[in-house]
């Protein structure tokens, strides 16, 4: 039954509100221009670019290898994944064979970083929804991942660990044992999160049936990663367009199931990330068991000049598909480096899905898409 409101009896005026760029729940400096009718959002238009640093231009002014530290700054919660994606892209362009041990190391660090990135996503999302405690749990576990990374590359946030042709240094003695220890500690924690917050009635109430994205829209608007799988499409580049040593591992592609409401709502996108942490643990256990001995760097000339050509490489990062379109003109610098980032493309659908929601739901939408601003603005 739809209630008809007599507009003359109850006149309301549209209001324009600025949400951000400084706003605690926009995960950075995202500005959303809201047009609201009471508490209902008539239109929410994202305004991005506050963190634009011209990384694509910087890429053209630096040799291939020197751009590696800048990829850390694309998605600072998943620097390893960005590092590795760039390295894989350049290796595809130049046709470099990477030693198998290096590929295993990359997969191990990427999956560890996926766990820590999903932890932050889970923690900040629940904090946005008004439950602060889970954030502290997430940070506690992430700390251990940071410790592990610090041991192999000296950094805790921007790692600069991958190199074109391998990784900067071999794993330290006993590192794999520590990873195993972490996994044994971490795996039961996922169940703890579910008990703590996932099926909490208020939390579910805030997310179920909010901002439903249909599978067709997902593909048309270029959503990738957990946001795509949240709408029930089992597409994962690690399985469907395999790169590196991913074909060696057995893991499940997690999809949303419409568990608490309609398929493709905020809850589905959230639960996919929780499930994916389990799969990452699975991949890590297999990788630790299978990692071979050997060198960690291929022979790459000091002055590295790939032959003229163009290539596009995309990798499955925690936030979706990160792609590099590289053009080489035969010199030491890339002629062009287009960086396709998942959060940027995701923001395209924002205006469409937020129409008719409550203002408080906007926060849920931003959190469930798990956007990160430096990656949007580049």
């Amino acid at each position: 039954m739809s209630a008809t409101i007599d507009q003359t009896a109850l006149p309301t005026q549209e209001m324009t509100l600025n949400m951000g760029p400084q706003h605690p729940s926009t995960h950075g400096v995202l500005r959303v221009i809201l047009r609201t009718d009471g508490e209902v959002v008539v239109n929410a238009r994202p305004d991005v670019g506050y963190l634009h640093r011209g990384l694509q231009k910087i890429a053209e002014r630096n040799p291939y290898g020197s751009f590696m530290p800048f990829t850390d700054r694309l998605d600072y919660l998943a620097s390893m994944n960005c590092n590795a994606a760039y390295a894989w892209a350049v290796e595809k362009l130049a046709g470099i064979e990477v030693p198998e041990r290096a590929e295993f190391i990359r997969v191990i660090v990427c999956e560890l970083n996926r766990i820590s990135s999903h932890l932050i996503s889970f923690g900040s999302f629940t904090a946005d929804m008004g439950a602060f405690t889970p954030f502290l749990y997430a940070i506690r576990e992430r700390e251990r991942v940071n410790d592990l990374f610090e041991e192999i590359c000296g950094n805790r946030l921007t790692y600069n660990y991958c190199r074109i042709g391998g990784v900067s240094a071999d794993l330290t003695d006993g590192f794999l044992g520590k990873v195993k220890e972490f996994l044994d500690y971490f795996e039961p924690k996922i169940e703890e999160y579910n008990n703590l917050i996932t099926y909490n009635k208020i939390f579910v109430g805030r997310l179920a049936n909010v901002a439903v994205v249909s599978p067709e829209d997902c593909v048309a608007y270029g959503l990738t990663g957990p946001n795509l799988r949240g709408s029930g499409i089992p597409f994962d580049l690690r399985r469907d367009e395999p790169y590196s040593v991913y074909p060696k591992f057995d893991f499940k592609v997690c999809v949303g199931r419409g568990e608490k409401g309609q398929l493709g709502d905020c809850f589905d996108r959230y639960i996919v990330r929780i499930d994916e942490m389990r799969e990452s643990v699975k991949i890590l256990r297999q990788a630790i068991a299978m990692i071979p001995e050997g060198p960690v760097m291929a022979k790459v000339p000091r002055v590295f000049k790939p032959a003229a050509g163009e290539c596009y490489f995309r990798a499955e990062n925690p936030r979706g598909e990160t792609g590099f379109y590289l053009i080489s003109d035969g010199s030491a610098n890339p002629y062009r480096c287009q960086i396709r980032t998942p959060s940027y493309v995701t923001m395209n659908i924002f205006e469409k899905v937020t129409e008719g929601l409550m203002i408080a739901d906007i926060v849920a939408v931003i959190g469930s898409f798990d956007i990160i601003l430096p990656e949007i603005d580049r």
Binding site: A220, G222, A308, Y325, Q338, V345
Partner: protein, 163 residues
Amino acid sequence: MSLKDIHLDAKAIFQSLKTRFGDAVVELQETGFNPAFVVVSPSAILAVSRFLCDDPSMKFDSLMCLSGVDYKDNMAVAYHLHSMSLKHIVGIKTFIPKDAPRLDSVDSVWPAANFMEREAFDLFGIVFSGSIDLRRILLPEDWPGHPMRKDYVYPESYHGVKV
């Protein structure tokens, strides 16, 4: 799917486009290109896109990446397409003159194109006619010029702040 399959597909796609669109399909860029590019003339880009998206043998339902490129003599827009159901990949490229970089927008075919086109407009100055919303996106509204062009001259200052 191996890399070889992708290349084979590109050839078949090129043939299929060639028979349908004739001279509007210029060439196949294959050696050194991964994935291969089908070069089409700018006037046909919308029709070709529509065909690639809707045709049951193509089904390129997802636009992975849209990039502007400045090749010094002319400019280009590169589209990387992927089919979720048929799992094939192809690149489409179109060259446009540098003094009048104008092209039909494809956001009616792939809505994902909108933000990517806005980026190409912002950083390269490529105008996508028929776009639903073509404004600068990453740079401020009043930024002079398009910085990703190869002949871009860096400004001395912006609003009195030294760059």
